[in-house]
Symmetry: C2
Subunit: 215 residues, 2 copies
Amino acid sequence: MSWSRDGGKGPRGYHHGNLREALVRAALALIAEKGPAGFTFAEAARSAGVSPAAPYRHFRDRDELLADVARRGFVLFEEALKAAWNDGKPEPFVAFERVGKAYLAFAREQHAYYSAMFEAGVPLDADPELQQAGDRAFAVLRQGAETLIARLPAGQRPPALMVALHVWSLSHGIASLFGRGDAARRKLPMSAEELLEAGVLVYLQGLGLRGDATK
Amino acid sequence: MSWSRDGGKGPRGYHHGNLREALVRAALALIAEKGPAGFTFAEAARSAGVSPAAPYRHFRDRDELLADVARRGFVLFEEALKAAWNDGKPEPFVAFERVGKAYLAFAREQHAYYSAMFEAGVPLDADPELQQAGDRAFAVLRQGAETLIARLPAGQRPPALMVALHVWSLSHGIASLFGRGDAARRKLPMSAEELLEAGVLVYLQGLGLRGDATK
DNA sequence: CAGCTCATGTGAACGGCTCTTACATGAGTT
DNA sequence: AACTCATGTAAGAGCCGTTCACATGAGCTG
């Protein structure tokens, strides 16, 4: 990672040089520390070493910074899901389970991003790019669903969109309710990953799909 | 509904008479209007006609009011789910689907409560009563799951807790992602209700359960 | 009914936050 | 070398949460 003149501690001149990026990183750190509600524009400015008014040169307001963090989050999210799916190789069923795990892993390991994306109340339609980034992430899931149901006999294929929505909702629900290991809202007799895997397994079985490569 | 001396517009004396309740109602209205983040203690006080310091006689701070709203929400939620379940009558399968619909209906129709319960970042362990109210609501779902899997042959019964968690997560995920009809985060080709019903159907089928009363 | 007490209200104030406006700086261009 | 304009600062208005000293009056006690 590298940016023009911000990583070091050397005194900066009147101009920061990379304030926009610095603010985003500060926002992530603050969200990770105190949640999306605890994050303040002023503190991000402080932690970047500029006056409280400076951020307004780069973001219309606090919400726009939050929306930008969410947008970046969706881009990373898409990458993570795509990497997990890996074009359905070596085997779609296995790959699909991997996507589920990646969903939960992202929610846990990139919790600041996840927070901005889903818990900060950022309206999805605030920014077309945000909207599109979200759509692209979902598209990965949809692609997976499509590949999976292709195994079913033509007569009994459910709509891929519906299957993707079900899996997404289940993953999202589990991540929201039991996502963080420690700060979880409720204690569980099993890990979130196991819960999701079992749920998807049962669901796919309900569709008539089996995990083994018999079909 | 009735309270001692607050509903009317008659001038009140130095003391409000029912400030605590008035604040809760004001909070609900504000959350419904501007989301849990937009709700302010000061405005709730204003709308109850008292000074900004008055609420502190009834709640330690803003978060405690929010937590109280969430607690009341869980109580209502439990009632709604219980009514929908109706002891599994006339038929557990039908009743269980009714519970799912009730979940979504609550998220939509009581969105201010739902917001406080799940989207406001209120820590569940903030208050033991809040915790317990949440547990009681979940217990309804669990009871439903228990009754349903009792239909299965003894050898292939999954843990009721797991089934309940799956259904809860799916419901919660759908409600979070597509809950509000209008202000939904994403457009759908079907209603949230249909999506949930189909999902639960597929899931139960995966468990080996059929909707008709054959078993 | 007189007097007391204490829960519940008020007013004023502190510090912090968002956001705006007028002004300062200096990097890049001509 | 001069100019321009993106990017910074300072100051301040208005809001919020929260606290503290003080006011009020509802309900008990005698």
